[in-house]
Symmetry: C2
Subunit: 411 residues, 2 copies
C-alpha cells in the first residue's frame, strides 16, 4: 500500500470511545495483502442484538454486500468479520463461495447461526480473496475477543485512509442513557482497487430491527448519501448498525415513537460526524466544502443541484486553486437538469453575496471572498429561485494529490 501524508483536514486525534455493552472486538495481522499492520477484525455481539444496514446501489456490488443484504432479512446479528486488502468484488461464484466459507467459520467460532453473521471486504477488486487466511485466523480472533478498543478496530479496516475515524454520542430513551459508537473508513468515495466506504455503528440501546432500519435509512440520506469525493460509487459500500439491547431501555414501537426522538438526533449527528471525517480524508483533499442549495423545486432537486456543484471537476479545481470562480458554480447549476431560474440565481460564498437576481451584485468586492477561499472550510450557498426545496452536501477539492494517488496506485 502506498503511504500518504495524514490529511491536513484530519481531526486532532481519535475521540475517546468507551465500550458498548454486548460488543467485543479483536484484530490481527492476517497478511491478506498488507504487511506490518492489522487487516482483519472480528466483532461479536451479545445474543438478542438487532441489526440494520444500507449498502451500495451499484449494480456490480461485491459478494459480501449481496450476502449481507440476504442476512439482514433475519434482523439479528451475532458476529461481523471485516478484512482490508481485498474487496472480493467481481470474483464470480468463487467470490460467493469465499464469503460462505468465512461466514460459516465465524458462526462456528462464535457459536451462532450463519444467518447472524455479516462480513465486509475492501481492497483490490477482481482478485480471488484468500479466504483460507481468514478462516484460519478466526479461532484465534475468537479466543482474543474482549477488547473494547474501537480505535484498534477502526485501524484494522483502513486501506488508503490516512487516519482512523470514530465518533460517539449518548442519548436518553425513556429515562435510560444509551451510548452509540461508530467507526468508518474511506478516503475516496470509492477507489475499487484500494479504498471504499465502510462504517459500523453499535449501541447498547434496545431497538427492534425494523425501527433501527428506518432510523438508519433516514439518517444516511442526510450524511453518507450527502457526501462525495469524486462522484464514483463503490462496489462495496456498507453501513451497518448493531443494537445490543444491553441498556435495557423501553423498546420504541416505531421510528416516529417520541421515545426514540433523542436517539434519532444522536444517531443522525454521529452519522454526519463520521461522514464528514470520510470527506476530510478525501484523496488529496486540502479543503472541506459545504454546499447548500435553497429555493429548489423540492428537496430532491436541491440535492441533485448541490451534488452537481460538488461533483464538478471545474468547481473542485477552482476551490483547490483558492479561486472565487463563481462562474463555474453557475455552470454546474445549469447542467444539473433541475429547474433553476437563471434570472433569480443568488450565490453566497463565505457569507458574502456574490450574485443576486441572476447577475453579479453591484460593486462586488472579491477581496473578502478571496480571503474565505484561502481557508480550510469553504461554505457555498446557492438559491435557484424557483421553490422552497433545500439540501446540503459536503465534498472536498480536486488537487494534484488526487491525481498522484489515483494515477499511480497499482503501478
Amino acid at each position: 500500500m502506498a503511504k500518504y501524508e495524514k490529511s491536513p483536514l484530519a481531526p486532532e486525534r481519535f475521540p475517546t470511545l468507551g465500550g458498548i455493552a454486548g460488543v467485543k472486538f479483536s484484530t490481527v495481522q492476517a497478511g491478506i495483502k498488507y504487511k506490518g499492520r492489522t487487516d482483519l477484525m472480528l466483532a461479536e455481539f451479545a445474543p438478542g442484538t438487532t441489526v440494520a444496514g444500507v449498502f451500495t446501489k451499484s449494480l456490480t456490488a461485491s459478494a459480501p454486500v449481496l450476502k449481507c443484504r440476504e442476512h439482514l432479512t433475519g434482523g439479528s446479528a451475532r458476529a461481523l468479520v471485516v478484512n482490508s486488502g481485498n474487496s472480493n468484488a467481481f470474483t464470480g461464484r468463487r467470490g460467493e463461495e469465499s464469503v460462505d466459507h468465512i461466514l460459516t467459520a465465524a458462526a462456528d467460532a462464535v457459536g451462532c447461526e450463519v444467518g447472524e453473521v455479516f462480513s465486509a471486504s475492501t481492497g483490490v477488486i477482481g482478485e480471488p480473496l484468500p479466504h483460507d487466511i481468514v478462516t484460519a485466523a478466526l479461532p484465534g480472533l475468537k479466543a482474543q475477543l474482549g477488547s473494547a478498543d474501537w480505535e484498534a478496530a477502526a485501524n484494522a479496516i483502513m486501506t488508503t485512509d490516512t487516519y482512523p475515524k470514530g465518533a460517539t454520542r449518548t442519548a436518553e430513551i425513556g429515562g435510560v442513557t444509551v451510548t452509540i459508537n461508530g467507526m468508518a473508513k474511506g478516503s475516496g468515495m470509492i477507489a475499487p482497487d484500494m479504498a471504499t466506504m465502510l462504517s459500523f455503528v453499535a449501541t447498547d440501546a434496545v431497538i427492534p430491527s425494523a425501527v433501527l432500519q428506518a432510523l438508519l435509512s433516514d439518517g444516511t440520506d442526510k450524511s453518507f448519501n450527502a457526501i462525495t469525493v469524486d462522484s464514483d460509487t463503490s462496489t462495496s459500500d456498507t453501513l451497518m448498525v448493531f443494537a445490543t439491547g444491553q441498556a435495557g431501555n423501553p423498546s420504541p414501537a416505531s421510528p416516529t415513537d417520541p421515545l426514540i426522538a433523542d436517539f434519532k438526533r444522536a444517531l443522525d449527528d454521529l452519522l454526519l460526524d463520521l461522514a464528514h471525517q470520510v470527506v476530510r480524508d478525501g484523496e488529496g483533499a486540502t479543503k472541506f466544502v459545504e454546499i447548500t442549495v435553497t429555493g429548489a423545486d423540492g428537496d430532491l432537486a436541491a440535492k441533485r443541484i448541490a451534488l452537481s456543484i460538488a461533483n464538478s471537476p471545474l468547481v473542485k479545481t477552482a476551490i483547490a486553486g483558492e479561486d472565487a470562480n463563481w462562474g463555474r458554480i453557475v455552470m454546474a447549476v445549469g447542467k444539473a437538469g433541475e429547474k433553476a431560474n437563471r434570472d433569480k440565481l443568488g450565490i453566497v460564498i463565505g457569507g458574502v453575496q456574490v450574485t443576486h437576481d441572476g447577475m453579479r451584485v453591484e460593486g462586488y468586492d472579491e477581496a473578502p471572498v478571496a480571503a474565505h477561499m484561502k481557508g480550510q472550510n469553504i461554505i457555498i450557498t446557492v438559491d435557484v429561485g424557483v421553490g422552497i426545496g433545500q439540501a446540503t452536501v459536503w465534498t472536498c477539492d480536486l488537487t494534484h494529490g488526487y491525481i498522484a494517488i489515483n494515477a499511480d496506485y497499482r503501478s
Copy 2:
C-alpha cells in the same frame, strides 16, 4: 490568457481547406480581452443561405445562445459574429442588450435583416461584454471580407485551445460535387471562465433548413454529443451549419431522401473529425480514449454506461497512469444506473479479453494490456450482457495538467 504547450495529441497540421462559394471571412485583433491575437471574426453568407443549429442544454445558457435559438426559426443566415475573451453569459438584461447591439450593427454592415444574423461568444462569464468594441470593429471587418482562410477564422475563435481545429469533406448530391468545411474550438468540454465548445460548418450545397437541421441533430448525437473531457457542460456550446446553395445541386426533399445519403455520410464524418479534435485538445490530455459499450438494454443505455466510464475520475486517472485497472471500469458500469449483468460482464482493452462472464479470464496476462496502455490511443470495449444496444464515446485522460490549468486559471 495562460499559455500552454500544444497538446501531444494534436494533428500534425491544420488541414488544407479551400473556400466555400458564398462564404467570406474577416478577422481582427479587437482587444476584447486578449492582446496580440485575433479575437473577433465576421462571416458573411450569400443570400439564400439556409441554417441549422444545436446548442447547450444548460438551463443557464448564455445570451447569444438564447438569441441564436430565436433567429434559427427563420431558417436563413447572412452573417455570423464570433468573439473570444468574453462569453456574455450570466450577464442578465445587459447581456441581452449587448447581443442586440452586435446583431443590429452586423445587419447594418452586411445589409440584411437582424433575424439573419447569428453570434457566439466564449471566454470569461459574468463580466459585461464590451459590445462597443465589437460594434466599432464591424464596418472594418465588412470592408475586409473576402478571405477564404478557414485557419485564420479558426484561430480567431480560440480561447485556451492549443491548436486551431478544421476539417473538410466532399460529397455528391445528384451528380453535383459539394464541399463541407468546418472549424471548432474547445479544450475542456467546458470551462465557463475560459473555454467552451463552438463549431461552425459551411457547405455550398443546396439544402432546405429543415433538412439541414435534421441531419445536424442526428450527426451531433454521434459526434459532439458523444465526447466528454470533464463531464462539465458549457453555458455557451454552439454548433451551426450554413448551406449557401451555390453548388446548384438538386434540393433534397427530406432528411431521408436518397439524394442526400452521401452528403449525410460526409457531414457525419466531418462532425466526428472535429469532435475528436476537441477531445485531443482536452485540458491536460495525454491519451485519446475510445469507449464502446455493447450488449446494453438499448442504444441510449449503452451511451449512458459509456459516458459513466468516460467521466469517471478514477478510470481517467488510471488511464493517465497507464494502469490497466479494469476494476475501475467495473465500478463505473455499476454506478451508471442502467441494466448490466454482473455475471456476464466482458471487458476488452486494446483487443485483449480481460474479463468474461463476470470474472477475470483464466490465465489473464496483463503484459499486452499494459503495453496498450502506454500508447496514445486507448480502446476499451465493454459488453454488459443484457441486450443489443451499443454506443461509442470518446474522451481523454485526467492528468496533473488538467489540475494545473483549472486550479490556476484566474489567479
